[in-house]
Subunit: 288 residues, 2 copies
Amino acid sequence: MFRQRLTDCADAIQTHLDHVLSEFERLPVVDAMAHATNGGKRLRGFLVLESARLHDIDPKAAIWPATAIEALHAYSLVHDDLPCMDDDDLRRGQPTVHKKWEEATAVLAGDALQTLAFEMVTRPEVGTGDVRANLAASLAKASGAQGMVLGQALDIAAETSIVPLSLAQVTTLQQGKTGALIEWSATVGARMSDSDLAPLSTYSKALGLAFQIADDILDVEGDAATIGKATGKDAGAGKATFVSLLGLDEAKRRASQLVESASDALSVYGNNATALRDAAAFVVARKN
Amino acid sequence: MFRQRLTDCADAIQTHLDHVLSEFERLPVVDAMAHATNGGKRLRGFLVLESARLHDIDPKAAIWPATAIEALHAYSLVHDDLPCMDDDDLRRGQPTVHKKWEEATAVLAGDALQTLAFEMVTRPEVGTGDVRANLAASLAKASGAQGMVLGQALDIAAETSIVPLSLAQVTTLQQGKTGALIEWSATVGARMSDSDLAPLSTYSKALGLAFQIADDILDVEGDAATIGKATGKDAGAGKATFVSLLGLDEAKRRASQLVESASDALSVYGNNATALRDAAAFVVARKN
């Protein structure tokens, strides 16, 4: 049932994205934007739609921030894959944007996807001015130099450092790099209904960390064909990860603990939050 | 008097930017953001502050969108200068970000400057939720794949085309590449006071085009040391510009005409709009 709900959300987001992009002039950069946003688990979009459902938000309003966060996530991947960053050829089993087009188009497509995210969260369909301003302001904070970009900058700094990162430093890095956007996604429903952010915030902080630990485990244990990108890159590069710092068994134990903490945080929502609890379990059990 | 006002605006924006950036963790990416936003004429920020003054907006509110548009403009320059784009070593007489640091930091700093722009226009200090949402939505539209990025994408497409662009195509390209942000800047005051955008919109469309024609003239007639970046690049690359399409004399005549149209559009504001009229004349007369 959770799988079905995840698939339904992914389909709704894809349909919405196709519609939005169809209104743009059909240039290579727009094709590249479509390519970059195609596929993936849509976990962030799912979190937006589920948290909106928990707060009785009209799905026609919630689809905008759900699609926005997927556009923003895609921008970060397109730029992350660039030769000057991680230099990846493959993403979701497809050639990366700079491989399929060239670097200039990848830079521009990433830039425009970020812009599109802010355009989508501030659409009139989303809600009152206060709601739209809140979503844009919080999305900017989560994705900028105090959130996602901070994580990426710490990652770049770590690469040139001779001292490997500590567990606390890896945690800070990952909370910025992936945690901030996951937290934003899961709190959208509370933001749109002007409700208490705390339960969803606690839930998503645990979820984000579990997600990243699972990613590090997959990098060691996973299969490149299933994941759709190269594996063993972090271990090969001698990068400090949760697995290198904790060992595989302890990393798995912590991930399970975090799934439990995430579930517990949602007690106020009762059975209504089953899908979000399942999402936490899914994040750790996933094979890609 | 106009020069003094331009300098005062530039100083106010610099002070505000320094303050905002001082709250970020002092990583290379944040230093790069400061470097990229340092200097320049601040024409866009000036347009924001002047249009806000025309509409009796509190300068303490207007400084946020003024600083935001300079951050957004700086992001576009940092990415434009990248080796895969225009490959420029010099900007405002200083090494470009990827030269002073490296490409990864330039990509990230540009990304974070874009995010910062949206963070700044949605700050609570700016105004009501409606105003903040309007500014963010319109800024996204002006800078995305239907505005600035569209212009940049057309520019990239033109480089690989064997047919040189027509005057109409160069005009569309430039209206996206520089015109959209200039128009946004000049209409901020009307947006913040929920007033008619038309006079400032007509003014800024003429201003933006005059600005670009002047840029093309400077590329032919200007002095690299004064401008702070390489000249003769467009002519050398056989790129269609207003000068190559119209000839130098006709280009100058059109620029003057546009300055007049820009001034005329502001008649509703009477003498209050003198600084904006002077800005139009300045844009064409400038040497850098």
